[in-house]
Structures are given as C-alpha cells and as structure tokens.
C-alpha cells in the first residue's frame, strides 16, 4: 500500500480539477488578443475570477494577480518595499516570524544586503507569535509586517486577525503567506485584515505552476515581473489560462470540502496521533486548537528523522522530517527546537500531513506498521543501548 502523508508539501490533483485543466487547453487564445479567440479566453478568465474572488472574500476593487507560485507572490510583496527603500523611502524595517518559509526568509535576507532591517518574532511552544511582542517590535520606520497563516511543519495557525488589527492601528501594510490556508481553514481576506495574501494551487489539489497574490485596493505595489499589460500591467507574461481555470476549480472544491477537512480528515489525524502517542517515548506538538486539522508533528525518541523516513518509505509511506538532514545544508531541527524541544529530541521529528484523499484504511495501515518500524530502529539506536 502507498500512503501519501506529505500534503503540506504538495498534493495530488483532484480528478475534477484535472478534467477542467485538460478541457481548458482548448482555450488557447491569448486573453489579450482582440479577436474572438481572445475574447473567449478572456471570458474563461473572468469565470475563474468569479470563483476565486469570493472564495477568499476579496472585494472587486482589490487585485488578485495570477502568479506562478506563493514564492513569486511573497517575493513581489517584499520587493515592493525594497524598491521603495532603494528609491529613498526611509521605511527600512520589516517584521516577520521565525516560522516563515524560505520564500519569505530568503527575499528578506536579500533586502538586508541593501541595508533594510528585519525583526524575526519568536514563536511559543504552540508555534505561535505573541501579538504583544509584535506591537513592541513596531518602529516608526516599519515598512511591512509579514506573518504566515500556518506553518507547513508544525501546523501552527498564527493569530492573523489580531496581527491584522495591530497593523491597521499603526497603519502598516500587512502580508500573510497563505500557502497552508486554503482548504484547511476558512479564509476571508477582508475579515483577516490582510493587505496581501499569497497561495499556490498545488497545495489544495490544483496544478503546480500557478498561484495568486491578493493585493488590497490602494496597498503599495511594484511589479516583480515587467512585461506586457497582462494583469493590468502588474504582472507580465501570458496568462496560464488552463492553470488558472484549474486553480479556480480547486479552490471551489477546497472550500466545499472544508467541512470534511474539519471532521473526517481531522478525525483520521486524531486517530493517527493517538496511535503515535501509544508508542512509548513519543510526543506530539502544538495544541490541536491552534493546529491545522490535517497535520501532526511527532517525535520518536532515539530515531533520527531521516532514518524514520527511510523505513516509512520502505513501507510505502511518505512523510516529512522537521530536521532536514537530507538537504544539502544539513540543518538541525529548528522546528522542534522552536517548539521548546531539547536538541536530542529535535532531530527525531516527523511531520504527517493528510488530505481529503486520505482514507481510514491508509491510516490504519500506518498505525499497523509504525510500531514495527520504531522497534527496528530503536534496536539500532544508541539512545536505547544499555550503558
């Protein structure tokens, strides 16, 4: 049996999305062409927007720019403020969190090269920032606040509404990386009080290579990609129409299945979590009320994360590590350490993330093989050696 439990990384496409995607290839006309083919394509794009705008609670005066990914959207937002700074705007300070994805951290590191300053807010044992600390970090020259909706690793959901209120109080633009939000939580950008919101279709059973950047009306904006007058001239490049149509279908389905996510999928997650905790010397993290319904992050004392992934893979189970020993950089487990875990345990973190396609049979299979895997690896482990 193959069990895919790395849905916070990417997801399989829904068959209904695939159908839309494939059928949409016939609208090959360029949405900017003046003749009938172009008009037809433009109508299809309008239909997609009819779905996407209400799906995240955007108002028609706001922009939802089609991008290639969350990463592109995050870069666009951050560099809007970098360009302003380089043109002489004195606002050079950006506030963000330690829990951000590299698509926030890397552009911010880039901004620092030009003299901008970044404050990273720490998260607590539930993986959440303290809004009071955010308020204390605000300076006269703060240009932007950027806080992720939820972590792909810990699953911790940040207090976005409170951040939005603080940002409004101090009149500072607020960006939210929403890659983990769609399909796992209700999203209404106006209610959340965000000025920018980014997401990618492939995180909610859509295709890879298409995403969106929400920009509230009148929020500062500068192009990342200059080109033709697509997206009102705000993002050059021919519009990936079948990708957009597929994303619209995917976001519609994600919202339709939100209840299922919060009931059936969540129950499966809870079942898996309980089974993990039945195994001695294991722990799970982040209070469930602050956690994405599909995510469980656990530690298995004495078993290095990559070794665990290896054995899971041997059994056809695909999960993720908090400590990514498999990457070129060989970083330690910053995730579990940020959640207050000891360094010895931090290297044993495993993240299981479910989706609406996860079945009870699959979870039962994982629950069945997990104790054998733990037994084999603990037998090798030095932690469990007699002194």
């Amino acid at each position: 049996m193959k069990v895919y439990l790395d849905n916070n990384s990417t997801t399989p496409m829904d068959d209904r999305v695939k159908e839309v995607y494939c059928k949409a290839t016939k609208y090959f006309g360029n949405v900017n062409s003046i003749y009938d083919l172009g008009i037809e394509a433009r109508r299809k794009l309008a239909e997609a927007y009819d779905i996407i705008y209400p799906a995240i609670g955007a108002s028609d005066e706001d922009d939802i720019l089609i991008t290639s990914s969350t990463t592109e959207g995050n870069n666009t937002v951050i560099k809007t403020f970098l360009y302003a700074f380089l043109r002489g705007n004195p606002k050079k300070h950006i506030i963000t969190t330690v829990a951000e994805h590299s698509s926030i951290k890397a552009p911010l590191a880039f901004c620092k090269k030009f003299g901008m300053e970044v404050t990273y807010l720490y998260t607590d044992e539930n993986g959440r920032i303290d809004p009071k600390e955010l308020e204390n970090a605000i300076r006269d020259d703060t240009a932007l606040i950027s806080v992720l909706f939820a972590s792909n690793e810990s699953g911790a959901i940040e207090p976005i509404k409170e951040v939005g209120q603080i940002a409004k109080k101090y009149n500072i633009p607020f960006h939210c990386d929403g890659a983990q939000a769609i399909g796992k939580a209700e999203v209404n950008v106006r209610e959340l009080g965000v000025d920018y919101f980014t997401f990618s279709a492939h995180k909610f059973h859509g295709p890879k290579g298409v995403g969106a950047l929400y920009v509230r009306a009148k929020a500062p904006y500068e192009n990342l990609i200059h080109g033709g007058n697509q997206m009102g001239g705000k993002r050059g490049g021919s519009v990936y129409l079948n990708g957009v149509l597929a994303m619209a279908e995917a976001i519609k389905l994600a919202n339709e299945h939100l209840d299922e996510m919060n009931t059936r999928v969540k129950a499966l997650r809870d079942k898996l979590e309980e089974a993990i905790l039945q195994i001695p010397d294991t722990k799970t993290y982040v209070d469930k009320k602050f956690r994405l319904p599909n995510t469980v992050i656990a530690s298995f004392k004495g078993i290095e994360g990559e070794a665990m992934l290896w054995d899971l893979n041997q059994k056809g189970i695909y999960a993720a590590t908090g400590s990514s020993c498999s990457s070129e950089r060989l970083e330690g487990s910053e995730v579990l350490e940020a959640l207050g875990e000891d360094p010895e345990i931090a290297h044993t973190g495993i993240i299981f993330s479910l989706s609406r396609f996860t079945t009870e049979k699959e979870i039962d299979y994982v629950i069945e093989v997990l104790p054998e895997i733990v037994k084999r690896l603990r037998n090798i482990s030095m932690t469990y050696a007699k002194k």
Binding site: E304, A307, C325, L330, S333, H347, I380, M382, A385
Partner: protein, 321 residues
C-alpha cells in the same frame, strides 16, 4: 554539472546498493557486556563519539584479546540517518580481526570505499560523507581507551577537512605551491571542503576551530611578508614593495646620477612610479641645465642603463616628463 545542479537529485537516489542493504539489514548492531568479554577471555572496550543533539552519534563495542591486541569481535549502536547506520556497520566489520593499531589506520574514506558497488562510483553523495567521519573518530576513541591514552596523542596531524581527511599542512602546501587565493582555486588541487562543507567557512553544518578560508588568508599574508623580507634581504628590485622600490631608486639617483649631472649644472628629480604588466615605469624630471640640454634623450638612455645595472633588473623603464 550545471544540468545536474538544476535537477538537484534526491540524496537517497545516489546511495549504493550496499548502503541500502546495510541500512535495511545491518549485520553488527548489538552490545557486549563485561560478562561477554570474560567468557571470551577478552577485554571490553566501549567508546562513544558524536552527540544526539547534533543529529549523529555512535557507540562502538570491541572485544580485544589482551595478549595479541587483536579485536576478536565488535558491535555498534548508532543514532543517525541511513548513511550513518550503514557506515557504522561497515566500520565495525572492518575492525574485526585487526589489531588495535591496524584498526586505527581505518579512515572514513576506507569505510566509504567499502560501501561502493563499483570502485569508481561514490557510495553516497558528498554532503553525506560527513556521516562516515564518525567511523574514524570512534575507532580512535576506542583505541585510546584500550591503550589508556588521550585521543589527541593518537592523532598525528591536524585534520582540517575530516570528510576528505586533509591536514592543515597539506592545505598550506597547496596554497603556497599554486599561489591559491580562493576556495575555488584550492579545490582544483584538493577535495578538502567539497563534502559537508563545514570546514570551508564559518556558518556551516558544524563549528570548527579553523576554516579553509582562514588558512588561505593566513598563508597568503605569510607569503607576502616573506616576499617583502626576501626583497629586503636579497635587494632584488622586482620583489620589493613600492615604498622600497622608491627608496632604492632615490638612493641611486642621489649617490650615482645626481653627482654626475651636477658637473654640467643639471639635476634630476623622481616624480612617480607605476607598475604595469609586471614592468616598473619610473617617471623622472630634468632640473637645471638638463631641462634645456639638447642631449637629453642620450642622457635619459644612460640613466636607464645605470638604474638597470644598479638595481639588477631589466624589468624597468625610465620615462622623462
């Protein structure tokens, strides 16, 4: 290479079959107790290396025949990824049947080679070489324990890059020999710093006492000092610093040339000096009678010859302005 970099392949994809086999079925996992040792008339040695906080650690158990110093059996326990477990397993196997002194010669490179399927194809990707380094270190720990010595006494040279086992001395020699200025240049001549990259510069996977960038800088500074000193000692003009070149030129002007020109009521003045394409251009100016003398060009040639002779260098040119 560039194409492969873009593909950024999975680490696991690059494991040899032997690594996979050893990870799935390690042969020497286990422990020995004092009782086991007694039964087999051996001395028990237990040594640890690494730490779980850093993500890697290994414990090695040896049963050593005290009469022959031979390791009659060995086992290990390990906290680490697949490569670490496979490396520990092979390392443990390699020590069996060897004397403690022979075992001390086993390095991480031997372990990696033993895990290869084909002699020329690495058993795992470069960033995983780090995992096999513990194999060497834990053997040294065990040997030190058996001999009742400190590990430092057993290490002969200061290893800078543990993955490729390159010593500080070797790095220094390469920097000197090839006048290396950057890491990229250094890596044309050595594998140091190509694996886990911790030893290249601060900020890598592990903290180090010394980094390759520091050694390159130090050796270059040392070489520069030596050059200057050499220039001073031998009086070799081409090896002098700019200041010393100027001093040497002025000395010759004052002692040899000016007295000669003064006989005709003229003089010469040092104006500037430039180094271009390895050549030293000396800019001078005539003063007094020389400034209007019709045989200026001839005199200029003579001055250049005199400077060349006195400074023992053909690498200079005199230009009058």
């Amino acid at each position: 290479m560039a194409r492969n970099d873009l593909l950024s392949g999975s680490v696991w994809e690059q494991y040899s079959n032997k690594v996979i086999e050893r990870m799935n079925n390690p042969r020497y996992v286990g422990e020995f107790s004092e009782e086991d040792a007694k039964k087999r008339g051996a001395k028990l040695v237990v040594a640890d290396f690494g730490s779980e906080a850093c993500g890697d650690s290994v414990r090695l158990y040896w049963l050593v025949d005290p009469k022959t110093d031979k390791i009659i059996d060995a086992r290990f326990k390990s906290f680490g990824c697949g490569t670490a477990i496979a490396s520990s397993d092979v390392m443990t196997e390699l020590t069996i049947g060897k004397t403690v002194d022979e075992a001390m010669k086993i390095t991480n490179i031997d372990v990696e080679k033993a895990l290869r399927d084909e002699p020329d194809k690495p058993a795992f990707p470069p960033q995983k070489m780090h995992c096999s380094v513990m194999a060497y270190d834990v053997i040294l720990e065990a040997a030190a324990k058996y001999k009742g010595k400190n590990v430092k006494e057993l290490k002969d040279d200061e290893i800078v890059c543990e993955c490729a086992r390159v010593t500080r001395k070797e790095i220094e020699e390469i920097v000197r020999k090839y006048k290396v200025k950057t890491i990229e240049e250094l890596q044309k001549y050595t594998d140091a710093g190509k694996y886990c990259k911790s030893c290249v510069a601060p900020g890598g996977h592990e903290e180090r006492d010394v980094y390759l960038v520091d050694i390159i800088k130090e050796v270059n500074e040392q070489m520069e000092k030596e050059e200057i000193k050499k220039g001073l000692e031998t009086g070799e003009f081409d090896k002098m610093t700019l200041v010393n070149k100027i001093k040497a030129i002025e000395k010759i002007l004052n002692e040899k040339i000016k007295p000669f020109l003064a006989m005709d009521g003229g003089s010469v003045e040092f104006v500037d000096l430039r180094e271009e394409d390895g050549k030293t251009k000396i800019y001078l100016r005539y003063l007094g009678a020389c400034a209007t003398c019709s045989s200026g060009a001839l005199t200029a040639k003579a001055i250049e010859e005199e400077l060349k002779k006195e400074l023992k260098s053909n690498n200079l040119e005199v230009i009058f302005i």
